[in-house]
């Protein structure tokens, strides 16, 4: 059974259809890349999976660990192990990163019936995770994302991911706005967190992130449909030739015909 099973997903915002029949299957231990031009629906897909209320699902279903994902609230999804690394991480003035993350982790632990961590235990965990992704301690005691540089914000997302240890992580354009060094640090963090028990969906516009996070599958999203799927080499072809050739190739062929899944 796959970890995530998206079937014929249609969704939109305020009556405008954006996703028009997505099929996607993600298995444990896999890394999937979703690529596509601007406006193709990549971030919408990430938002629908995480439960952003602005999006309305009009058709289709999503199973996560065999359960109906769309029936869960955003916080229930998070507590069940779904993590979204935001394209634009949000600032929360006056709330320290440390406090925020401890509250989040304990909400998740409580949901799973695991004992909540006290301050000392939490600090020990944080120290361990900081090493994994090379995170600057000074950021811990600053308000969540407030005054962070673009790179620091993205790194903070990955740090949160490290602490919360999700089963399914969705990285929404985590590479955008990063210089090459930051990109490498973020990617290394993701790689270190990889395990046979979790999966990562990387949403990206550019191929360059995939030099560092090597995907098992690459899917091309155009006009709200996955029009082509393949292995990691597909990303290189896209980098070289752009998206237009796929548009031409796919023509009016129904998206389903090209839908891919884990083997």
């Amino acid at each position: 059974m796959s970890l995530l099973e998206v079937r014929n997903l249609h969704a939109g915002v305020q009556g405008n259809a954006i996703l028009e029949g997505i099929n996607l299957s993600v298995g444990k231990g896999e890394i999937h890349a979703i690529m596509g031009p601007n406006g193709s629906g990549k971030s919408t897909l990430a938002g629908v999976l995480a439960g952003r209320e602005a999006y309305v699902v009009t058709e289709g279903e999503v199973l996560y660990q065999g359960k109906d994902l769309l029936g869960l609230s955003p916080e229930e999804r998070a507590r069940e192990g779904l993590f979204l690394a935001f394209q634009y991480p949000v600032e929360i003035p006056g709330v320290t990163n440390m406090y925020f993350l401890k509250a989040a982790l304990n909400a998740i632990r409580k949901h799973r019936g695991i004992e909540e961590l006290d301050a000392m235990e939490f600090i020990a965990l944080v120290k361990e995770k900081m090493k994994v992704i090379d995170f600057d301690q000074s950021l811990l005691n600053r308000p969540v994302n407030e005054g962070f540089s673009g790179g620091e914000k993205k790194r903070n997302e990955i740090f949160q991911m490290a602490v919360l240890d999700p089963t399914l992580a969705i990285l929404d354009e985590t590479d955008s706005g990063l210089d090459i060094d930051a990109l490498r640090i973020v990617a290394e963090g993701v790689n270190r967190l990889r395990s046979p028990e979790n999966a990562v969906v990387v949403v990206t516009h550019y191929q360059r992130l995939l030099n560092y996070i090597v995907p098992d599958f690459v899917h091309v999203l155009i006009d709200g449909r996955i029009v082509k799927s393949g292995g990691k080499e597909l990303a290189l072809v896209l980098e070289e030739k752009g998206y237009d050739w796929i548009r031409e190739e796919s023509g009016d062929v129904p998206a389903d015909a090209h839908a891919a899944g884990s083997k």
Partner: protein, 481 residues
């Protein structure tokens, strides 16, 4: 409207969980106000003639004054002749133990983390010998007495320390200062008096005792705090636990005096009944609070967290008379449902190199209307005066309002005055971000609101700050759960 907005509204639409206990007082004066009533109040309290004359003079002022119409609040006209201005303290029917107390009230106490003993005291249970708050209070009082600190009820001060009371009463808020202050001066019920002698640092926050002391101070409370040269005191008013009160109109006066090098820190956490969803029955809180930095290098700080009351009209200010004196005002005001708050501060710079800091955080939810009204007044001789003001408003939902009325009058060219203001709405993005990390909407709102208020909470004594955070949580959390 998105679900997010309606979630916030749901939070905001929480009912106050306990209604009023409407009692009929046995020994009460007839309704209305006239000289005879004032004579009655004064004689019932056994006051000396000078105190009576002071009251009568204040009454004379009051008769010539009009209720202020300028605040940005609206309420039905108050009939001052329909109010009972004196009722004798009488033994109340007390519950025997916590099992007889409204379970909702107990739940709130627990949420606020109030200890069992404290819960018993707050709910008016007759305390036994094991937890005898009165004797605890007596112990405190003895300790303070050794240092020469006077801390007693206002009535007691009038009897025991008439010279001090005569010297300072009305020296900061004159009897004719404003309509409500004049009313208070004529009919004040009781309150607290606190005197810290020269060079003495009060070793404890004057709080626990005050809570006990304050149980029956009534609607026209009067407080006077005097810190002599080099003295220090931190005073806590109010309580995070909800207050039950049958009096709708409250008009208190607080006067603080700081002499050379003295410091007074006054913190308030107020959680009165705000009225029902339509605003019916809530407390009207018209308070005059003012400090006088009379001496050089003196410092007065006001910190307030206001969550109760249907109407709040309150401008704790500081007269900066002594050279190099410092005035501070840190405020969090929450308005929910139909609550209205018009609150802020007045900083009057008179002495040289005087400094003032104003940090105001207004939170509006439901149909709440929150106004900041502040005056920074730099007089002609206030060479080198400095002021920094910051007024931030946070809106929850889309039917509430935030207003800012800053007045700045500068008559000295060397003064430097800064004003910063911001208005923000709790963003759906912020809430979604928190939820995506596993937090409930309620926890997300609490966290964001507490983060917003952090600069003010930081000024509260530690224990109070923790209570205030929880209180804010309870005020906005509500209906959920």
């Amino acid at each position: 409207m998105s679900t997010e907005t309606s979630n916030i509204e749901e939070l905001a639409n929480q009912e106050y969980k306990y209604g009023f206990v409407t009692d009929i007082e046995a020994d009460a004066a007839p309704r209305g106000l006239n000289e005879d009533i004032i004579r009655l109040i004064s004689s019932k309290k056994g006051e000396p003639e000078w105190m009576l004359q002071w009251r009568l003079k204040a009454y004379g002022h009051w008769l010539t004054m009009k209720e202020p119409a300028w605040p940005n609040v609206s309420y039905p006209p108050i009939n001052y002749q329909d109010i009972i201005y004196y009722s004798a303290p009488r033994p109340k029917v007390r519950p025997k133990d916590l099992s007889e107390v409204d379970p909702e009230l107990i739940k709130t106490y627990q949420k606020l983390g109030i200890s069992l003993g404290e819960q018993e005291r707050l709910s008016g249970i007759a305390v036994d010998a094991v937890f005898d708050s009165v004797s605890v209070a007596t112990t405190f009082k003895e300790k303070l007495g050794e240092l020469g600190i006077i801390f007693c009820s206002f009535s007691e001060a009038v009897r025991e320390h008439p010279d001090l009371v005569k010297k300072y009463l009305g020296s900061v808020v004159p009897a004719g200062d404003n309509f409500f202050a004049a009313l208070n001066s004529a009919v004040f019920s009781d309150g607290s008096f606190c005197y810290i002698p020269k060079g003495v640092r009060c070793p404890m926050e004057l709080s626990t005792y005050f809570r006990i002391n304050a149980a029956d101070t009534g609607q026209f409370e009067r407080t006077l705090i005097v810190a002599e040269e080099g003295a220090y005191v931190s005073y806590l008013e109010g309580c995070t636990a909800p207050m039950r009160d049958t009096n709708q109109l409250h008009a208190a006066v607080v006067e603080l005096v700081a002499l050379d090098d003295a410091r007074v820190k006054y913190s308030t956490v107020q959680n009165w009944y705000p009225g029902d969803r339509e605003g019916k029955g809530g407390i009207f809180n018209f308070v005059t609070k003012r400090g006088k930095c009379a001496g050089r290098n003196s410092r007065i700080s006001w910190t307030q967290v206001e969550t109760g009351s249907a109407i709040t009209w309150k401008y704790p200010g500081v007269l900066l008379i002594g050279d190099n004196s410092v005035g501070e005002f840190y405020s969090v005001a929450v308005t929910n449902n139909r609550q209205q708050a018009d609150t802020g501060t007045k900083m009057v710079h008179i002495g040289k190199n005087t400094k003032s800091t104003i940090v105001s955080k207004g939170i509006s939810a439901g149909h709440g209307q929150n106004s900041y009204r502040g005056l920074v007044d730099v007089k002609r001789n206030a060479v080198g005066a400095r002021n920094f003001s910051q007024c931030d408003s946070l809106l929850l939902g889309d039917r509430c309002g935030a207003h800012t009325f800053p007045y700045i009058e500068v008559k000295n060219t060397t003064a430097r005055v800064e004003h910063e203001a911001s208005t923000s709405k709790i963003g759906e993005d912020q809430i979604f971000y928190c939820k995506q990390r596993g937090l409930s909407t309620e926890d997300a709102v609490n966290m964001i609101v507490n983060g917003f208020c952090k600069e003010v909470f930081r000024e509260l004594p530690m224990e109070f700050a923790v209570e205030a955070q929880k209180l804010l949580g309870v005020s906005l959390e509500g209906s959920v759960g």
